[in-house]
């Protein structure tokens, strides 16, 4: 018996099987030729992911059946009873894993690289506080200062650490000037909300600079664009009121997300980008398992 898969153990081969058949295949299909530790990993991962997903779904289902407002143990899971401010914070936190899942999906299944797996999430989180318009302004300033600063500092031939420190200094000064100018023209900008975006953006700038050093400008720009696009999706998730309410009402939904993350982590099929990269190899070579 063969699944036509690269190895002799069942694999989550493409998007469909990764999403739908993966856990079932991994859990049920016996390895036809040899057992090895990779197979064990795949099966353990499949089973774990299935258990997590079923646990989460069952929990949600049971509590839906029981109805809201019931006294007892199930009430602990319902975070909607908490005060408004706590609830909003928890809603954001509970959606973060979904953002991480999206990022790792883009990295490992689609095949577009970003600056780190958690960076898009962090960017989205930091922009959440100040809104995307102010966020875009801060981002533009930081990028502009960072890039022009890089051009100037390139002549000084500094080591990378102090150079980044200087970029941070210039950025801080520019943000201070912006806040002050905004105040002057009657726009209230709370400087406190800029703190998180500043820190996160400085990290992005650092990654960006190191990446330019290592991979060149074109690759780095592509990385940056992907990071921004993914963080845009994360931001949309965080902004989604209905999803926030749902996450607070059913925090165990994150178990399902964890199951999905395990599946993505064991996805050993082709990335979407590889369908393009290896297109010249379509149908070449001999039949496997022959």
């Amino acid at each position: 018996m063969s699944w036509g898969t690269p190895f002799c153990f069942p694999q989550t081969q493409d998007l469909f099987s990764a999403a739908v058949l993966g856990p079932i295949l991994n859990a049920l299909v016996e390895c036809p030729v040899e057992r090895n530790h990779a197979l064990e990993h795949a099966r353990v991962a499949g089973v774990t992911s299935a258990i997590l997903a079923i646990l989460g779904a069952a929990c949600i289902g049971l509590r839906l059946l029981a109805g809201t407002g019931t006294e007892g143990w199930a009430d602990v899971l319902d975070l909607a009873r908490l005060p408004e401010a706590t609830r909003q914070t928890l809603a954001v936190l509970l959606i973060l894993p979904a953002g991480a899942a999206i990022t790792s999906f883009v990295r490992n299944v689609v095949g577009f690289q970003t600056f780190g797996t958690l960076m898009p999430n962090l960017l989205a989180l930091s922009f959440l506080g100040i809104g995307w318009r102010a966020g875009a302004v801060v981002f533009a300033i930081v990028m502009l200062v960072g890039l022009s600063g890089r051009a100037v500092l390139g002549r000084l031939r500094l080591l990378i650490g102090p150079r980044l420190g200087l970029v941070l200094t210039a950025t801080v000064l520019c943000v201070a000037a912006t806040v002050s100018l905004a105040e002057h023209f009657g726009l209230a900008l709370w400087a406190g909300s800029i703190l998180l975006p500043m820190v996160v953006l400085t990290i992005v700038i650092e990654r960006f600079h190191v990446s330019i050093e290592e991979n060149g400008l074109a690759v780095s720009m592509r990385l940056l664009a992907t990071t921004l696009a993914v963080s845009g999706v994360c931001l949309a998730l965080l902004h989604w009121q209905a999803l926030g309410r749902l996450a607070v009402r059913f925090p165990e939904g994150d178990l399902i997300v964890a199951g999905a993350l395990i599946l993505i982590g064991r996805y050993d099929g082709y990335r979407l980008s590889e369908l393009w990269r290896f297109r010249d190899l379509a149908g070449s070579g001999e039949e496997p398992n022959k």
């Binding site: 036509g4 898969t5 690269p6 190895f7 002799c8 081969q13 493409d14 090895n36 530790h37 990779a38 490992n108 095949g111 031939r157 080591l159 990378i160 650490g161 190191v210 050093e213 290592e214 064991r266 996805y267 050993d268 099929g269 082709y270 990335r271 590889e274 369908l275 393009w276 990269r277 290896f278 297109r279 010249d280 190899l281 379509a282 149908g283 070449s284 070579g285 001999e286 039949e287 496997p288 398992n289």
Partner: protein, 329 residues
């Protein structure tokens, strides 16, 4: 642009599977954990360690002129270079050819690089300082810089490589040759032979040592993009010897999935470095997937046995600063 769209714009996953193509996820999840024990990566991630193993095995490597370890060493650069005209500067832990300078002419005012670039003295110092502070190494670890002999290319390959030196990548599975590729620098790659940097890759028939077809910018290519020379049927000189060195080195290093990079000098092949996470572009160059050979190797493969004295491995696996400075011996 027409030729791009004449063929498929993409391949379906089942087509790739039928072709036995290994993907990145497959390599990282299934191949590397099974074939490559983690601690052994230290033997290939540090080029000085690889070099030492080669010397132990009697495999020719470029002569090391100097190893710069600390920033003050940069000031002693003229002393290290010692009036030499041609040499190669590379970070010991640099990956994918990053930070490598091939110097064709060194004089008082600076260096002329392979590919025509020119570096002033302060630029050189800056590059060395950056390399040592770990810009080119994985995870930004502090690094050492190797200054070594530049291998003059074999006359048969000299006119194929545009402004640089051709090199050979041999991919070994459990110590046996699986695929090979000849990499030629192009105008766009600035004298470097890394596929990521626009170099041209030609698949080599392992038995015959003869090239068939090639890959350029992830596309199959049959003529040289700069010189329009046909890329098929080039006979690689000293082929058997090169294979022999690669097999010997892979056996000693013990990584089951290993790429060995050699350069063909006028008097035979010389090993440059080895790579435990060798790229997958070699499949496109050979128009052949890696999965059938991997499956074969796994089916009847005996694990690699260390071929060197255990003490040497021990000392290499946790490098003591200074123990790999051949110039002080």
């Amino acid at each position: 642009m027409r030729h791009v769209f004449r063929r498929w714009a993409f391949a379906w996953p089942w087509e790739l599977r039928r072709g036995g193509v290994l993907g990145l996820n497959g390599r990282n999840l299934c191949v590397l954990p099974r074939l490559n024990p983690k601690p052994l990566y230290a033997l290939v991630d540090d080029k000085l360690a690889t070099k030492l193993i080669c010397q132990e095995l009697g495999i020719p490597v470029p002569e090391t002129y100097a190893v710069l370890e600390r920033f003050p060493d940069i000031r002693r650069l003229p002393q290290w270079v010692n009036g030499r005209q041609e040499f190669v500067v590379k970070p010991a832990r640099g990956a994918g050819g990053r930070g490598v300078l091939v110097v064709t002419k060194a004089d008082r005012s600076g260096w002329t690089l392979c590919g025509g670039g020119r570096m002033g003295q302060d630029e050189i110092r800056h590059h060395l300082a950056l390399s040592m502070s770990g810009v080119y190494s994985k995870g930004g670890r502090p690094d050492r810089v190797i200054i070594e002999q530049r291998i003059a290319p074999h006359p048969a390959l000299a006119d194929l490589a545009f402004g640089g030196t051709a090199d050979i990548r041999v991919l070994l599975l459990l110590g046996r040759t699986a695929m090979a590729m000849l990499r030629l620098p192009t105008r766009g790659s600035g004298g470097l032979a890394n596929l990521h940097q626009d170099a041209l890759g030609l698949g080599i028939d392992v038995e015959a040592g003869r090239t068939h077809g090639g890959i350029w910018r992830n596309r199959a290519a049959s003529i040289h993009p700069d010189t329009a020379r046909p890329l098929e049927g080039i006979v690689v000189p000293h082929w058997q010897e090169a294979l022999q060195f690669a097999v010997k080195l892979a056996g000693a290093i013990g990584l089951g999935y290993l790429g060995v990079d050699l350069v063909l000098g006028a008097c035979g092949p010389v090993v440059l470095e080895a790579n435990g996470r060798a790229g997958l572009g070699i499949q496109i160059a050979n128009r052949r997937g890696l999965l059938p050979p991997i499956r074969e190797a796994l089916a009847d493969g005996t694990p690699l046995e260390p071929a060197l004295p255990a003490g040497l491995y021990k000392s290499l696996l946790r490098p003591v600063p200074g123990n790999l400075r051949p110039h002080e011996k």
